[in-house]
């Protein structure tokens, strides 16, 4: 069991956990700022950016993809503004129109492109290729201690680990700013906290997490992880510190349970083969959110108390 697990399952599970955590952390603040849709939008609009970056360079590598995604995000922000102004419609609708159109354009572009030489197609864009990110060179647990063997780990793991560490560090360093400005932006500005720049930084960080995660696990997980773990975590506690802790727990739990269920679930039900790990991870996070809605200790919102007082 040991060797096979290290070869086939360890890296996908780790990548799943890191991707989930990298998205869930900024997701906490996006949700509290009522910007949950932005995570969703970002994960959609990066697709055409990534495809264009691939068309221009002919390879799938991190830097051009990140640049392409960033470019697409800028185009999207501009388009949203244009649709809002010219169409005279509310921001949420403008965002919805722009990001679905851009995602659709990305899918069309992808279909017209010869990507047979590399692993980039519509299915990959949606669900990633978590199952294929294996570590065949590994000879067992001891390979984790062998620098030579560690060098053969899939690139995706190093990349998502770097991004996840980056997100964690930013969250810790800017914690106080994020908390104050998310709660009360006017007060934060009166204190001299650059709240507008901080808000932009949060969205950029979310975009970086989305691109890195997208590469490894596809857009379904990204969308789910921005929203489900933080939303479920909010129902577990009334403290921001603990909420973030719960969201990391839920993200990890989704990744591990989702991966195992995808691999073995169908067998338990007597069916053949396995289902998409990314799809199952996202589904598990949705189930966790559902359970939190039903049984979470702080699901009763404060409307009642406020009505009494007003």
């Amino acid at each position: 069991m040991g060797t096979e697990f290290v070869q086939l399952s360890l890296t996908p599970i780790l990548i799943g956990i890191l991707a989930a955590v990298a998205c869930a952390l900024p997701g906490n603040f996006l949700i509290l700022r009522r910007q949950a849709l932005i995570g969703d939008a970002i994960s959609h609009v990066v697709l055409p950016g990534i495809v264009v970056a691939f068309l221009l360079t002919g390879v799938i590598s991190a830097i051009p993809m990140l640049l392409g995604a960033a470019g697409a995000a800028l185009v999207a922000v501009g388009l949203i503004e244009v649709v809002k102004r010219l169409g005279g419609i509310e921001p949420g609708a403008a965002m919805g129109a722009v990001f679905t159109s851009m995602f659709a354009a990305g899918v069309l572009l992808l279909e017209q492109t010869d990507t047979s030489s590399v692993h980039l197609d519509v299915e990959h864009a949606l669900m990633g290729n978590l199952e294929s990110l294996v570590w065949l060179q590994a000879e067992g647990w001891h390979s984790l201690l062998d620098p030579g063997m560690l060098a053969t780990l899939p690139d995706e793991l190093t990349r998502i680990a770097t991004v996840c560490a980056f997100v964690v560090v930013l969250t810790v360093v800017f914690w106080r700013w994020l908390k104050i400005s998310t709660f009360d932006e006017g007060f934060a500005q009166a204190l001299g906290i650059p709240a507008a720049a901080l808000g932009l930084g949060l969205v950029v960080t979310a975009a970086i997490a989305a691109v890195a995660a997208f590469d490894a696990v596809g857009s379904i997980i990204v969308i789910a992880m921005f929203i489900c773990p933080p939303a479920a975590a909010r129902l577990m506690t009334n403290r921001l510190e603990r909420q973030v802790g719960w969201s990391v727990t839920f993200a990890t739990l989704s990744a591990v349970l989702g991966y195992i269920l995808a691999g073995y679930g169908p067998l338990w039900f007597g069916a053949q083969g396995a289902v998409s790990a990314a799809g199952m991870i996202a589904a598990v996070s949705g189930i966790i959110l559902g359970l939190a809605c039903l049984y979470g200790p702080h699901r009763a919102r404060v409307g009642v108390a406020r009505k009494e007082g007003a």
Partner: protein
């Protein structure tokens, strides 16, 4: 203690926000205590309208008050035990010491307003800018808040509040700014808060009942 008074849409809150740089200024410079606003931030405490934030936010009363200590602790500094004691004292001054560990959404409107006031007290400022501190609070809370503000005045602090209840201007404030988009009048309440100036600020929008009420107050003086 000064009141900023004017009809809805006169730009009372906007004036405060522009002065603090929360919304961009079209022109002009702001000086506080002879310094630019940027350098004077540490001496200013701002109390936004309590309706401007999401009270469902996952945090406690004490936590919100400790946000007022931010200037002292900075981005990464740790809250010292002394700072915690200070935050508790500020809660005591507004009568909320028993609510320190409540989630902020579990408070009444008046209590929420007092939490904001306690946060401002924690800032230990010299100038207090309050945006509608009495909006949506009951009479008892209003008395409690005005009590705290008057103590600040006795301590030599400056208090400026956006205020909408014309009937209480004379009781609470020494100085008044009347604005309606542009400045109408400013000065000590006795000489500035007159029916003529109010007419100039409110025009036809001031309900007749209000004017009679004020005339009665005028007559009584």
């Amino acid at each position: 203690m000064s009141a900023i008074v004017g009809p809805n849409g006169a730009g009372k809150s906007t004036l405060l926000k522009a002065a603090l740089g929360i919304i961009p200024r079209l022109s002009g410079e702001v000086h506080v205590f002879g310094e630019t606003i940027r350098n004077a931030r540490a001496r200013i405490a701002y109390v936004p309208q309590s309706a401007s934030v999401d009270w469902d936010f996952p945090t406690t009363v004490l936590d919100v008050v400790q946000m007022g200590l931010y200037r002292k602790v900075g981005l990464l500094g740790r809250l010292s035990g002394q700072a915690r004691v200070q935050a508790h004292e500020c809660l005591e001054r507004v009568g909320l010491e028993d609510f320190a560990n409540r989630q902020i959404g579990q408070l009444s409107g008046g209590q929420q307003q007092r939490v904001f006031l306690a946060r401002a007290l924690a800032q230990d400022a010299d100038l207090f800018l309050l945006d509608e501190p009495f909006a949506g609070v009951d009479a008892a809370t209003e008395r409690a808040i005005i009590g705290v503000l008057k103590l600040l005045k006795d301590d030599g602090k400056t208090v400026v509040a956006v205020h909408h209840n014309l009937a209480t201007v004379r009781d609470y404030f020494d100085h008044v700014f009347l604005i309606n988009v542009r400045r109408i009048a400013e000065g000590p309440v006795e000489t500035t808060f007159t029916t003529d100036n109010l007419h100039a600020a409110y025009g036809g929008r001031l309900a007749a009942t209000h004017l009679t009420e004020l005339a009665v107050i005028d007559g009584a003086r």
